[in-house]
Each structure stands twice: as structure tokens, then as C-alpha cells.
């Protein structure tokens, strides 16, 4: 199997998985269904992790309720543009190495890291 074929197959699998997950998270509400995994960090420590509420946020987002999604997990909403930019950068890594370095600059990564840590601390203090 050639490199391009393997990449294409991987992409296809990824798209199928994302679509199936999308349908599941659209149809079922994680706050009332027992089907979804609960946060291990929250159960063990009693503290919320940066990702807590993201399943409910995705369900709300897929049903068009952006405000509710933001309330469940603000970090998830803020991360979506970052993820889009990073995915684009990843696709341009070999073709445009300069752009890749600029989008993966230490400053931007630090910014994201500080944002995550702040979010983690603040949401446990203010119960966001």
C-alpha cells in the first residue's frame, strides 16, 4: 500500500468515526443518558478537569444551542478555531514549513497552555 493510499484510508476512517460520533452525540443527551463515560478525574478527585462538560457541550452545539454549549465547557468552544488552524497547519507541514512554524510558534502554544491552566483553576473556584 502506498503512502497516499494509507493516508486516504486513514482519513476515510477518521471521517466515518467523526460522523458516527456526531450522530450519537446529536441524538443522545449525555446529561440524562448513562451510555456516556463519566470523567475519571472528577470521580477520583472531586475536582473538574479542563474537559469536564465537553460531551454535554458537544450535544448542545450539535443541537444549535451555542449559549448552553458555552456554559457546559467554554474551553471547548474557544478551542474549535485553534483546532481548525492547527489541522490546517498540519496539512501544510511539508509543503509550507515556514507557515507551519509560525502557526506552531512557542508563543501560541504557551498562550493555549496558560489558557487551559487558568480555565482549569478558575472553573473549580467559581464552579463554571
Amino acid at each position: 500500500m502506498t503512502r497516499t493510499m494509507r493516508r486516504g484510508l486513514l482519513l476515510l476512517v477518521a471521517i466515518v468515526v467523526v460522523l458516527v460520533m456526531g450522530v450519537v452525540y446529536y441524538a443522545l443527551d449525555p446529561s440524562s443518558s448513562g451510555f456516556f463515560p463519566k470523567c475519571a478525574f472528577l470521580e477520583f478527585t472531586g475536582y473538574k478537569c479542563p474537559g469536564c462538560g465537553s460531551q454535554r457541550a458537544i450535544h448542545a452545539l450539535l443541537n444549535g444551542d451555542v449559549v448552553a454549549a458555552f456554559k457546559y465547557n467554554a474551553l471547548l468552544l474557544i478551542s474549535i478555531p485553534w483546532i481548525a488552524i492547527c489541522l490546517y497547519a498540519e496539512s501544510q507541514r511539508v509543503r509550507n514549513p515556514k507557515l507551519y512554524l509560525r502557526l506552531n510558534s512557542q508563543l501560541l502554544i504557551w498562550l493555549f497552555l496558560i489558557m487551559v491552566l487558568l480555565w482549569w483553576v478558575l472553573r473549580n473556584i467559581f464552579n463554571w
Binding site: 479542563p50 471547548l76 478551542s79 514549513p97 512554524l101 506552531n104 512557542q106 502554544i109 497552555l113
Partner: protein, 179 residues
């Protein structure tokens, strides 16, 4: 003086001048010592003159401002025209800054997956993955391709750990218990 070496993306050092001379580096190597603002080609170090065929201008001594007055002009009594090394310039001198030291593109920082794992998985392992993504860029910019590649892999492993511990194992466990 201590020298650091970057040869084909592999960093080593510090070594002293004698050890550096005995390393048998090719002219493709870059060297740095205290006082230099960036890596220079090994062929540009004045103290290694003779060992390598000099390519481009030797780097100027920190305090030296060379004069470029031809001898005839002095004999004719014209005032000495000062020309700095920077003004002369050298087309062969490599330009740094945005330009990476290594020909190969930067190894993947795996930042996307680190972010996805941080936001979606229940264990904070994704945060460690982000730290390693940052290391990839840092090491690559310093010319350490080997270090960047290993940081890239470490970042991916933390992401995988976050996904396995945070998402995969619980449904698996439930399935095993219920079955």
C-alpha cells in the same frame, strides 16, 4: 572558550578549541560560542582558519571595525574611508532568523491531537502533550532535529495515554463487567 556544535541536526558540546579541531567535522557543521548571536558555519570561525577552506567572510571580532582602504589611497594621502564588515556584506553568509537551521521540515508538533485530548479527555495528560508540542518547536528552531523528533513522539504518547485512560478504558471495563 567553550564551543557547541550542530552537525547535520545533531547537537553536541561544549568542547574546547583543541577538541573541536580534532572532531574532524565537515564544513557543513555549525558552531556557537558565547558572544555570538547565532550559529555560524564552522568555516567562518577565524580560530579554525587553515583547517577549513574559508567560505564567505570570517566573522568579525566583537570590537574590530575593519577598514577597507586600498594601499594606493593611503600613499596618495586621501582620508581613510571606513567600511565596516557589515557594509561589505557577504553573499555566502547564511541568513538566520525565520529561516530554520535544518533542511528537513519541522517534525509534527502533534499540537492538534494534544488540544483535542485536553478538551475531550478526562485526564490532564493532554496538558503534558501540549508542553511537549512546545518543545518540538523550541528544539527544531535551535537546530536539534533529533530532540525535536523525540519530543514529537513523546507528545503523541501522552495524547494516546489521555485517550486510553480518559475514554477507552471505562466503556471497555463496563463491557467486561456486564458481559
Amino acid at each position: 572558550m567553550q564551543y557547541w556544535i550542530n552537525h547535520k541536526g545533531v547537537q553536541s558540546g561544549p568542547v574546547d578549541l583543541d577538541a573541536l579541531k580534532e572532531m574532524g567535522l565537515t564544513s557543513a557543521a555549525y558552531v556557537w560560542h558565547e558572544g555570538l548571536s547565532d550559529w555560524v558555519k564552522i568555516t567562518q570561525l577565524p580560530e579554525l582558519q587553515g583547517l577549513y577552506e574559508m567560505v564567505g567572510e570570517p566573522i568579525p571580532e566583537p570590537q574590530a571595525v575593519t577598514t577597507g582602504t586600498p594601499i594606493e589611497e593611503i600613499t596618495q594621502g586621501t582620508p581613510i574611508e571606513e567600511t565596516t564588515q557589515a557594509q561589505i556584506g557577504s553573499p555566502l553568509q547564511p541568513q538566520y532568523g525565520e529561516e530554520p537551521l535544518i533542511d528537513e521540515p519541522c517534525p509534527s508538533t502533534n499540537l492538534v491531537w494534544a488540544i483535542v485530548a485536553t478538551v475531550l479527555c478526562c485526564v490532564p495528560f493532554g496538558i503534558v502533550a501540549i508542553v511537549y508540542a512546545n518543545k518540538v518547536t523550541k528544539l527544531y528552531k535551535a537546530g536539534d532535529l533529533y530532540g525535536a523528533k523525540s519530543a514529537s513522539e513523546t507528545s503523541m504518547w501522552w495524547t494516546i495515554a489521555a485517550i486510553v485512560v480518559g475514554v477507552v478504558w471505562r466503556p471497555l471495563l463496563y463491557t467486561l463487567i456486564c458481559a
